[in-house]
């Protein structure tokens, strides 16, 4: 019985791993192919099945004038927009979440939970609902097709995530921790940044991870709110497609797009596996 269980367990893990990893390997392999190797017959292994070439990768950094599709600038645009928006969202979101967790707000029928829900409701809405208001808003203040405009919009999108995660996290931090800090002689601000915040690093990391992921992968708003001046990576990658699908450069760009998230995943995983996310205050 237990042998069967072990067998099934490993079987499914193996199956799942193949399911997840295979597309990546396929993309890696494809990124080194040329037109011939993709379109003539199915090929898998470099040097045996096909002659690898770096053409798919070179196109990504060549300027359009030389027949390339320079993704370097969109890449750094994406990094800038995602990191800036995530950072601001985390800072503001954490402060908001702490207030929502520790103080009681009352405005008419509105209570703490309603405010928290209001934040989350921004994510429940289908993004398309927001597209026209955002477009009009940004064009009114003259930030269409600019990095700053994108940062503003992304903060709106990412802050609810930060608030949502951090409210839940702070609610699990006993209020006695803050009270002890007050008794020990901190003022409320010191209590927050000397005691509560260091204890909340696991929560901050998780919130940061989600913000970076959602910021990085957004295509919709990047597509609608930018035209020629500024381009973000997802839009540029999609723009690679043409009448003859360049599978090789598409694969290469997909890999470089995913790379930062993989790095983030490795960093975060180290913190999560420390086990101090759930047991932070036991």
């Amino acid at each position: 019985m237990s042998k069967l269980y072990t067998f099934l367990k490993y079987f499914f893990i193996t199956f799942w791993t193949v399911f997840v990893v295979a597309p990546f390997l396929w993309a890696v392999s494809t990124s080194f192919k040329d037109f011939q190797s993709v379109n003539s017959k199915v090929t898998y292994i470099p040097w045996l099945d096909f002659e690898p070439t770096l053409e798919g990768w070179r196109v990504l950094i060549k300027s359009p004038a030389k027949g390339g599709v320079d993704i370097v600038e969109p890449y750094f645009n994406s990094i800038f927009v995602t990191c800036t928006a995530s950072l601001i969202s985390i800072v503001l979101g954490t402060l908001a979440a702490y207030a929502l967790s520790r103080f009681t707000f009352k405005a008419g029928f509105v209570r703490n939970n309603d405010i928290t829900f209001f934040f989350i409701s921004q994510r429940i809405m289908p993004p398309i609902v927001l597209s026209i208001p955002f477009f009009i808003f940004l064009s009114t203040i003259g930030l269409l097709d600019s990095l700053l405009g994108l940062v503003v919009v992304y903060i709106v999108l990412l802050m609810p995530i930060a608030v949502w995660i951090m409210v839940d996290f702070f609610n699990r931090v006993p209020k006695e921790l803050d009270e002890t800090a007050l008794i020990d002689g901190c003022n409320p601000y010191q209590a927050f940044y000397k005691v509560v915040l260091p204890n909340s690093i696991p929560g901050l990391i998780v919130a940061g991870m989600f913000c970076i992921i959602f910021g990085w992968i957004d295509f919709f708003f990047a597509f609608i709110l930018t035209f020629t001046e500024v381009q973000l990576l997802p839009v540029k990658v999609v723009a690679l497609n043409s009448s003859i699908t360049p599978w090789w450069s598409l694969s290469a760009s997909a890999l470089v797009s995913v790379a930062p998230l993989i790095i983030v995943a490795f960093i975060v995983e180290r913190y999560l596996s420390k086990g101090n996310l759930s047991g932070a205050l036991k």
Binding site: E179, T180, L182, I183, G185, N199
Partner: protein, 361 residues
């Protein structure tokens, strides 16, 4: 350093958690009390009687709905917690997870900008007292629950100048053996540094062994303040009689028959209380099982009971008997032979307490 320990006055304090309600329920009914500098107090009472609220009012975590708090005659009611110079230890260990044990203990001093040498000296002294010296450099989160509570305690004791150290059932998570030692340590610290200690507990033994003064609370009301001996021998209300002592005080419904006598069923019991103006009223007679004596034969102030149970507790025997439908418990010496069936119990008049409306006459 400036001597800052203080006499703490609570003047007409009361508190409700729903002040906007037309009929607010009070967690603390109006009371006044003074905590003398350097004494040990225990606040004793069942869960939800307002003990913790009282502590939080003193430390400033809760602002009382009414009344004033004074440290050495200076009003501090509007002073924030961080400016009050109070140490408070909670029921469950609260530690700063991201810091080492040393940093945890030093934190209250660093917040108040003590010099490095002073901090080192105090942390060393406190960690020696609490047996934490060997852990000073380990991360606080790696310690066991009772060691963590020692850290909480240590943070309370590390400041020599605190007005008072308030402890809210601090030894709940600590194992019994260590508990005993720590209580003694706390006593020593109190005697050595003259720090006012206020200790909240629902455990009467803890309160009795720890404190010089015990404050008994029930349902937001301070029922009795006094020495352990007073609480034991002359409980002011039947509640104190029930709550303190093990087993609880024997309490019987009775009727006043003359100036100094009450009748339980048909037995007349003489007391030392003056019952002149309570004639024929229904009262309650209370007597500790410790004070009830075995009598050879019927005489005045004895009751005849039917023995229903004898329990041997090692150092004493607990007799349970019935007189009609009244249950009487009596503690007797272990060696004393217990006759079977019916026996006579003697109630010493000076040990009998009479309660009218649950209050001592």
């Amino acid at each position: 350093m400036e001597e800052q320990m203080a006499k703490i006055d609570l003047s007409n304090i009361s508190h409700t958690y729903n002040p906007l309600d037309p009929k607010p329920t009070y967690a603390l009914n109006p009371f006044s009390m003074t905590w003398e500098n350097g004494k040990r107090y225990a606040i004793l009472g069942p869960s939800g009687c307002g003990k913790t609220t009282m502590l939080n009012i003193v430390s400033g975590l809760v602002r009382p709905s009414k009344g004033e708090i004074l440290f050495d005659e200076i009003p501090v009611t509007d002073l924030k917690t961080e400016d009050r110079n109070i140490a408070q230890v909670f029921q469950f260990p609260v530690i700063y997870n991201t810091m080492t044990v040393y940093d945890n203990l030093a934190f209250p001093l660093r917040c108040r900008e003590f010099t490095k040498e002073k901090i080192e000296e105090r942390v060393k002294a406190v960690s020696d007292t609490l047996n934490l010296s060997s852990f000073l450099n380990s991360p606080a989160r790696k310690l066991t629950a009772d060691q963590k509570q020692l850290i909480s305690l240590g943070r309370g004791l590390v400041r020599e100048d605190v007005a008072a150290v308030l402890m809210d059932e601090p030894l709940t998570v600590i194992d019994p053996d260590l508990k005993f030692r720590l209580r003694r340590n706390l006593k020593e610290i109190n005697e050595q540094y003259k720090t006012t200690l206020v200790y909240v507990t629902h455990d009467q033994n803890e309160a009795m062994t720890f404190a010089e003064n015990i404050i008994v609370m029930d349902q937001g009301e301070i029922v009795q303040v006094g020495l352990p001996k007073d609480l034991f021998e002359k409980p002011k209300t039947t509640f104190v009689g029930y709550f303190i002592g093990s087993p609880a005080m024997n309490i019987f419904h009775s009727t006043v028959s003359s100036d100094h006598e009450v009748k339980i069923n048909d037995t007349t019991i003489k007391t030392n209380s003056n019952l002149g103006n309570l004639k024929d009223k229904n009262v309650k007679l209370g007597i500790r099982s410790e004070f009830i004596e075995l009598a050879e034969k019927e005489k005045s102030n004895t009751v005849k009971i039917k023995l229903t149970r004898v329990e041997d507790f090692g150092n004493f025997k607990l007799l349970t008997g019935k007189m009609g439908d009244l249950v009487i418990k009596s503690k007797v010496e272990r060696e004393k032979p217990i006759p079977d069936g019916e026996l006579n119990l003697y109630f010493p008049p000076e040990k009998c307490c009479v309660y009218s409306d649950e209050k001592l006459v």
